[in-house]
């Protein structure tokens, strides 16, 4: 597919010929995002360079009833930026200006294509940072973060994107430019901004974002608890929370992940441990050491054999690098892996982890775990061999069973990677009754003709749901088995 010639011409009039592309090679590279399992080429890709251009493009596509979708860095892991129904991709990469830093209100106003980490880099010399820190932060865009309501290891204390975005400017699917929120907190009336954040790019295209800046903590203490059993490590998590302490981050790595990161990055984690727990405390220097003493004591009481403290920034960086690049490191011990993303109540951690390990055993595959323990946000990594079709099949079954288990234990489908196309069919399981209809009604309010990012977030009518995560989305080319396996399944942390 490509643009019809009159559409191409009109687009070129708005953007200039070089920013309207529908050659087969461009379409090929835009057919998937961080999730390579399903691919679907767009009708074409346009590259607006200014808000006014974007508005004109949206109006034009709306007039011709052609569906479209915004794309940030394409690091999403649920297929959010994969076009369905041959939508036109609106590439946001050219929107990368940082507009204004307001030190008094502690805000920064940025374009949607600005990279998450860029904000922190811009303000750190003044002692500030942007708190949501997805592990993809050196690549993903703020626009994508807002769409997915992204979080990261430090979400435990600081919250997710929705807690750090004060206002947005956005283009509705008919081309109207609106503003929600502003530099101040709190707006009377229903929280439209809150609705927008996390709508996975189905409500509007964000064109400007006012982000909140967070002062850097005066001091941070990073500790590493070492355990003989995963169960004990989970106990430590509960124990800390029970004592009213909110660490900045609490992350767990199990034995398999430890062996992988030791191979790749050598952070010095003991190979004979069953689990390690990274606990970071931060805040005012006064009292932090005392708090660290308490945490150390709690960790030991709940079963940590040793607790090490990072002595300096170098050691601290080592620990965090091992955590943030853990998924990549799995490549050292397995030819492929499939990452799931589910959330459970913290109290259910030991139980669900046991269940996950049993599910893996039942199917004869290993499941490794590295996750945001403090939030109960699991990232089970199912290890398989891409050259073995049977194992591929099994990895998908395991993924499904793990998700079912999360839901059964009162959890949910995704902690941070979103629903996208990957889990759209699962929404029915999560929201029985009419909640789902109500949500769809809200979307219809913003996006009445479903022209913006169709086929995402909600189940598609008339699609069979027998194998949920394996259900091919409409118009998507599902790769044949051998290729699918070779594609791995995207990584995430």
């Amino acid at each position: 597919m490509s643009f019809e010639s009159n559409i191409r011409e009109e687009l070129a009039k708005i953007l200039g010929k070089e920013w309207v592309k529908d050659d087969s090679v461009t379409l090929y590279t835009y057919r998937c995002d961080g999730l390579t399992l399903y691919t679907a080429p767009p009708m074409g890709v346009v590259f607006p360079g200014a808000v006014q251009e974007l508005v004109s493009v949206v109006k034009l596509l709306h007039k011709h009833k052609i569906s479209f979708i915004a794309r940030g860095a394409g690091t999403g892991l649920s297929g959010g930026a994969v076009p369905q129904d041959e939508s036109v991709i609106i590439e946001m990469a050219r929107f990368k200006e940082v507009h204004e830093v307001d030190w008094i209100n502690r805000t920064i106003t940025v374009d949607p294509g600005v990279i998450n980490l860029r904000i922190t880099e811009d303000v750190q010399s003044q002692g500030y940072h942007y708190a949501p820190d997805p592990s993809s932060q050196k690549a993903c865009t703020i626009g994508g973060n807002v769409a997915e309501n992204s979080g990261g290891p430090h979400t435990l204390k600081y919250g997710v994107t929705v807690n750090h975005v004060l206002g947005v400017e956005m283009v509705l699917p008919d081309g109207e430019l609106i503003k929600l929120g502003g530099k101040h907190l709190g707006m009377p009336g229903p929280d439209l901004l809150g609705l927008m954040i996390g709508s996975e790019g189905t409500f509007g295209i964000i064109t400007k974002i006012i982000c909140r800046l967070t002062p850097n903590p005066e001091k941070a203490v990073t500790m590493l608890g070492i355990y003989k059993s995963v169960h004990d490590a989970c106990e430590s998590v509960s124990s800390i929370i029970r004592h009213g302490i909110i660490p900045a981050a609490m992350e767990m790595l199990d034995k398999i992940v430890i062996s992988a990161v030791e191979k790749a990055l050598k952070p010095g984690f003991p190979l004979d441990a069953e689990a390690v727990l990274i606990v970071e405390l931060d805040g005012l220097a006064d009292g932090l050491d005392a708090e660290a003493e308490i945490v150390e004591k709690l960790l030991k009481e709940s079963g940590a054999t040793t607790v090490n403290r990072a002595r300096d920034e170098v050691e601290r960086d080592k620990i965090w690098r091992a955590r943030k690049e853990a998924f990549g490191a799995i490549g050292q011990i397995s030819p492929s892996y499939y990452v799931q993303d589910g959330v459970i109540p913290r109290s259910k951690l030991p139980e669900v982890l046991n269940e996950i390990s049993a599910i893996g055993k039942k199917h004869g595959l290993t499941v490794a775990n590295v996750f945001h323990a403090g939030d109960g946000n699991l990232h089970p990594l199912i290890l398989y061999d891409y050259e073995n079709p049977e194992e591929v099949e099994k990895s998908h079954k395991i993924g499904e069973e793990i998700l079912s288990s999360c839901i059964r234990h009162g959890g949910t489908l995704s902690g941070e990677h979103g629903i996208g196309i990957e889990k759209a069919e699962w929404m029915k399981d999560l929201y029985p009754g009419n909640s789902l209809d109500n949500m769809q009604n809200v979307r219809t309010f913003f996006n009445p003709e479903n022209l913006l990012n169709p086929g995402k977030l909600f189940p598609q009518p008339g699609r069979c749901a027998e194998s949920k995560s394996g259900t091919p989305p409409r118009n998507a080319t599902v790769l044949d088995k051998s290729k699918m396996v070779a594609s791995k399944s995207g990584i995430a942390v």
């Binding site: 090679v25 090929y28 590279t29 961080g34 394409g74 050219r94 993809s136 690549a139």
Partner: protein
């Protein structure tokens, strides 16, 4: 650039790639963590011009979803091969290796336009391969420089008569010497008098080797570098002497072949690799010193040119050489020097104050993963302050002959570099020099600061280091 070509063979791209040991392509999980590090993607904002997109195209060729068409090849040729994406990638994707293999397949299996062919024949198969031609060219270009023509073109209205890229190329011209460094010192073992008792050099692997009182090292002199910027090699020699090395400059060494590998001419590169092996191998060296980041990176990766079951193997060029022994001797002069901090400390250095910037050559930081050493060497110099340069790990757009093939894109990348330099100068107006350890980058950045009238000198680190020695020392 217009690369008009058609596929020569009837063999599908898939089959060609299967023969090329391309399995490492599977390491790419399409996560995108490399995107921000790519200088060409940041200019072009198009997925197919990103490292992830380029890898996806290579994978498409390997899987058989794509064929070798011009539209597929173009984004791959727009890559400057800086390998910044390799440093950024958590999955260890060897981007450089994959790109170079792909370019090899493109080079061998497509027919280029007439202009391309002539250029390739003249430069790759001719000039760079032959020492005598190189000396002649150097001599002629030296005369050209003394005529004052380049200055006339860059500094006066005369430049207006020529296309912009031609004017810029005048800035790019190296300082040719008209003489060959390796022939000057051919095969002498140059030993130093100042040598005090020093710890024997233990080899890059760290294992204890030949325990002799002095390390004996070979110097790699390169092709263009052999006949230009004489100060770089001479300073290298001086510094090596000061730490008490015996230095050998084999007269029969040749170009490293990087330019060939980058353009896909692996056959010539293999020929050069074997010649260099023959030149250095018999001399019982503890280390082979390079002072051009691009050459060092290439010499360390010769084995990749001779993979096991390749189409190359079929043609009988399967190598029986164990390249490991050769490759592990290759070491950049800056990394080598920083192994001897005590000896360096003992030398008598000038103490006058000076402020400098350091720009990391891509093939030193990304391909050879050497970054701390040069910074430390500079920082440790008495009186010298090293001030930060934003994006010093960012490409300058030189890329071997990339700046000649893609002048516009290279110019845009260079512009970003000169902007950073300008910024650094606003905060540190007393900075006198920018220091970088690769001749290609040196020419490129020099051209950038000259054409933008930025008041700064540019030097190779060894030249700067040698210049900081008190006169009686050097």
């Amino acid at each position: 650039m217009n690369i008009n070509f058609s596929q020569k063979t009837a063999v599908s791209a898939k089959e060609l790639f299967r023969l090329a040991e391309f399995d490492n392509i599977l390491k790419c999980v399409h996560c995108g963590l490399c995107l921000e590090s790519c200088p060409t993607y940041r200019e072009l904002d198009d997925e197919k011009d990103s490292p992830r997109g380029r890898l996806y195209l290579m994978r498409g060729l390997w899987e058989g979803a794509l064929e070798l068409r011009q539209s597929v090849v173009e984004p791959l040729s727009r890559c400057v091969n800086c390998r910044a994406c390799e440093s950024a990638c958590p999955s260890g994707v060897p981007y450089g290796e994959l790109l170079e293999k792909t370019r090899g397949i493109i080079f061998e299996n497509t027919t280029q336009s007439f202009k391309e062919r002539v250029l390739r024949r003249l430069l790759l198969k001719g000039l760079f391969r032959s020492t005598s031609l190189m000396i002649t060219a150097s001599y002629l270009l030296k005369i050209y420089a003394t005529t004052g023509l380049p200055k006339l073109i860059t500094k006066t209205f005369v430049g207006k008569l020529f296309p912009r890229s031609f004017v810029f190329q005048q800035h790019l011209l190296p300082n040719f010497s008209g003489k060959s460094f390796k022939l000057k010192y051919a095969d002498e073992v140059i030993s130093s008098e100042v040598s005090e008792k020093i710890k024997p050099y233990t080899g890059p692997s760290g294992k204890s080797k030949r325990l002799k009182s002095k390390p004996r090292v070979g110097m790699f002199s390169g092709c263009i570098m052999d006949v230009s910027e004489a100060a770089i090699h001479e300073s290298t020699l001086t510094l090596l002497h000061h730490i008490g090395c015996e230095v050998v400059v084999p007269g029969n060494q040749v170009c490293c072949g990087a330019i060939h590998v980058h353009s896909g001419d692996r056959e010539t590169a293999r020929e050069l690799a074997l010649k260099n092996l023959v030149a250095f191998e018999p001399r019982h060296l503890d280390a082979i010193i390079t002072n051009a980041a691009g050459c060092g990176a290439q010499l360390k990766e010769y084995n990749l040119l001779f993979s096991k079951e390749t189409s190359e193997a079929k043609k009988g060029v399967r190598s029986t050489v164990n390249w490991q022994d050769f490759e592990k001797k290759i070491i950049d002069v800056l990394e080598f020097l920083s192994r001897y901090p005590k000896l360096l400390e003992k030398l008598s250095w000038r103490e006058d104050e000076d402020t400098v910037l350091y720009d990391a050559p891509c093939h030193l930081i990304h391909a050879q993963k050497v970054d701390e050493n040069p910074r430390q060497l500079l920082n440790n110099l008495p009186g010298v302050t090293l001030v930060p340069l934003k994006e010093s790990d960012w490409c300058c757009g030189s890329g071997g002959i990339y700046n000649l093939v893609h002048p516009e894109l290279s110019g845009a990348v260079l512009k970003r570099k000169t902007e950073s330099i300008r910024q650094a100068l606003t905060t540190n107006p007393n900075a006198t020099n920018i220091i970088t350890g690769n001749p290609g980058c040196l020419y490129q950045i020099r051209a950038g600061i000259r054409s933008e009238n930025i008041d700064l000198h540019i030097l190779h680190p060894v030249v700067y280091l040698a210049g900081r020695l008190k006169k009686n020392e050097s």
